[in-house]
Each structure stands twice: as C-alpha cells, then as structure tokens.
Symmetry: C2
Subunit: 235 residues, 2 copies
C-alpha cells in the first residue's frame, strides 16, 4: 500500500494565493513514488493574487484518476466565480465522494463547501473566514489542521505546510512525513508571535481586521448564495 504509485492533483486558478499551493507542493513532490499534477481549468498560465505566474500542466479533463486532490484558497476575485462553476464543483465533489483524500488550504475550504462536501463535516479555514463555514453546513474547528474522514482542511495560507505532513502521514506513514520534514528543515521559528488572532498584538489584529472588512462582506454574500443553493439555514 505504501509503495503504490500516487497521483496528487493540485488545482491552481487566477488570483489564488500561491503559497496555499507551493507550500504543499514542496512536501507532496518529495513523496517517493508520487506524481504531482499541477491542474487548472485550462492550460494557460495564471497569476496569483500577488502577481506570481504559475503554469498548469493538466486540465481537469486530461488528468488521470487522483489519489489526492488539493484545493487552495485566495482572497475572492478568482475564487468567487469558481464557487458558482458547476464543472469545477462537480470535479471536487466527485473526487470527495469517491472516498479519496481531499485537502483544502485556507479559503479553499469555501470552494469545497460550495461543492457541498463539507455538510456535517468538521473543518477549518483562514481565521478571518471561520464564521462562514456554517453556511456550507460545516462544523468550524479552530485548529491548524482538521481531518474528518477523507477530508483534510488546513487553516490560513501557511497552514498548508502543516497540513501537508498530515496528508503524507495518511498516505505513507509517519516516517515518510518525518523524512520530508527533515529534508526541508521544517522546524519553524517565526521571529514574531503575531500569526494568530489569539497571539497578535491588539493593534496589529485591529489593523488587519480593518483591511479585511471589504473582503469579508464579499465573502459573506458568496456564502449566503451557496447556503441558499444547498438549502442550509445558517442564520
């Protein structure tokens, strides 16, 4: 089982947050016997929310059967239209319903939620979007990485690295994850302690919350539309 060839599909799209993808890519591409497929709706390069050019090599249609599907997040501009894209949502829900591992990072959880696969599931997302999870029928869990059955969700942005090790351990065992961790020297030691709302200085939290306010409104409108479509009463 631990030696079986693995196909790991990693979705990219315009205006996503690149490290939601490149963090886990670093980990997954080091799994022995794994092929990582960088996938998008079409084969054109995309630009992430901060301007980095990323180039897919597969489309949703031409990828082989996947053992893992990875869904990254992003602020709203690129993600919002995808939350109404039936072809993509069906691709996500077909994968999840097959029982294979699905791994979302940050607001990738909202995309998964729009695909209807988080109903009744424990999940996490970026701290500033946690309050939206009930609109998708999910149970918010304020942890860095949450696994519920075949669905693994990671919190905001850089949490994608932590969750990637949980996915590797599920696929190949703890020692495979530990070898990769040592190889990429993942013994993080941030020089500041502002990485969560609970530990950030109050003025830092207030500044970042103010910066997010317009985005939060957009995301709430998105979530309400999805809740209506899924028949969920999250009021």
């Amino acid at each position: 089982m631990h030696n079986a060839r693995l196909h790991i599909g990693m979705l990219i799209y315009p205006q996503m947050d690149q490290i939601d993808f490149t963090g886990p890519f670093e980990v997954f591409s080091r799994i022995e016997g794994a092929t990582v497929l960088v996938m998008a709706q079409c084969k054109e390069p995309v630009r992430d929310a901060l301007g980095l050019i990323l180039t897919p090599e597969y489309t949703l249609g031409d990828a082989p059967a996947l053992d893992v599907l990875h869904v990254p997040g992003g602020p709203a501009a690129g993600r919002s239209p995808l939350m109404e894209d039936e072809k993509l949502l069906a691709f996500i829900s077909d994968h999840a319903n097959s029982g294979k591992l699905l791994y979302s990072v940050c607001t990738g959880a909202l995309l998964c939620g729009a695909a209807g696969i988080l109903i009744g599931k424990r999940a996490t997302t970026h701290w500033a979007a946690m309050d939206l999870l009930p609109y998708f029928g999910a149970i918010p869990v304020n942890e860095r990485v949450v696994r519920d059955g075949n669905i693994v969700t990671a919190a905001g942005v850089t949490a994608g690295l932590d969750g990637a090790f949980t996915v590797v351990a599920a696929l190949r065992g703890d020692q495979a994850a530990e070898r990769i961790q040592l190889g990429i020297q993942y013994a993080p030691h941030p020089p500041f302690h502002a990485g969560s709302p609970e530990t950030a200085p109050r003025d830092v939290l207030q500044a970042v919350e103010a910066q997010y306010r317009p985005l939060k409104e957009v995301r709430l409108a998105e979530a309400r539309r999805v809740a209506k479509r899924l028949g969920i009463d999250a009021s």
Copy 2:
C-alpha cells in the same frame, strides 16, 4: 523611510528549490509600497528541482536598482554552474557591496559565498551544508536566521519564511512584519518534530543523511573549487 518605494529582486534559476523563493515571495509581496521583481538570467520559464514551472519577468540586466536581493538555493544541478558564472556572481557582489540588504535562503548562501561576500561574515544555510560555509570564509552559525550587517541568511528551505519576516522588520519595522504574519496566519504547528537534525528521530536522520551522501560530495567539490579561487584555506 518606512514609506519609500521598495524594489525587491528575487532570483530564480533552473533546478532551484521553489519554496526558497515562494515562501519569501508570499511575505515580500505583501509589503505596502513594495514591488517584487522575479528575475532570472534570461526570461524563459524555469523548472525547479521538483518540476514546478516558474516564470521570470525581469533579467539581471533590465531590473531597476534593488533595495533587496533575494538568492534561493537548490540541490546542485542548477546551482553548481551558477557558482562559476562570473556575471551572476558580480551581480550578487555588486548588490551586497552597495550596502543594500541581501537575503539568501538555504544553499543560496553557497552562491553568495561563491560571490565572495561571506568572507568574515556570520551565516547559516541548510543543516546538511553548514560544514561547507568555512570554504567561503564564512562563520557558520547554527540558527534559523542570521543577520550580519546587510546580509541575512536563512537555514534550509522552509527557513526562508522565518527570515523573510526579519527582512521586513529591517525594512519597515516590526509591526509591518506582524501584520503580514497575521494575514498569512503564520503560526506554524508541524504535526511531527523531525524538522532539524537535533530533534529528528535517529533513524529518520540516518535515512536522510544517506540520501544526501552523493549530493554532499558534489557540494564539497564545488566548495573546494571556490575556496581555491577565493584564496581561502579551509582544510
């Protein structure tokens, strides 16, 4: 000073390690008033050591004057020829000698060392390459991030994220770094504790060291060639 427009040049090259670049990119591209320039020797896309396609938008020749130059690392195939590339080495040393910030991640330090800018400087690199630093005249410091004057070096691969915050704080102050940290929820919590040789289980360390053995020989030969050129006796 904290509001001045910043130009941050980030070097990419074939067979590099993508997260040495994408980690700091995530942080630097969120600095208010900063322009991040993804640079290479020519404008063709490159593939990182694990196959990810990265696309530069500037060449060394067409970039504006830089406030920060970032130098990522990689296993050897792509980095080795660069360690003999006079044009690139002059680009790195001209920047460092101007007194502007230079930031290397992982074995990017070896490239900087080949440019002769680490002589007499405290520096760090990937744990498996620390013993090579003296060949470049550097003083190895077993820390995640080391600053010596205008040169900041980060340890292996994922240490690039930690060091990026040190660079932001130097450019814009601690609170700017803390805001970015909260935005990207950088409160890392790896599910395993194998991220450094000191904490990894012994069998994990032995397995990874065995895997690195051929690479270590290549790197030692590189370092000896550079030491000879720089006139350093590290025997």
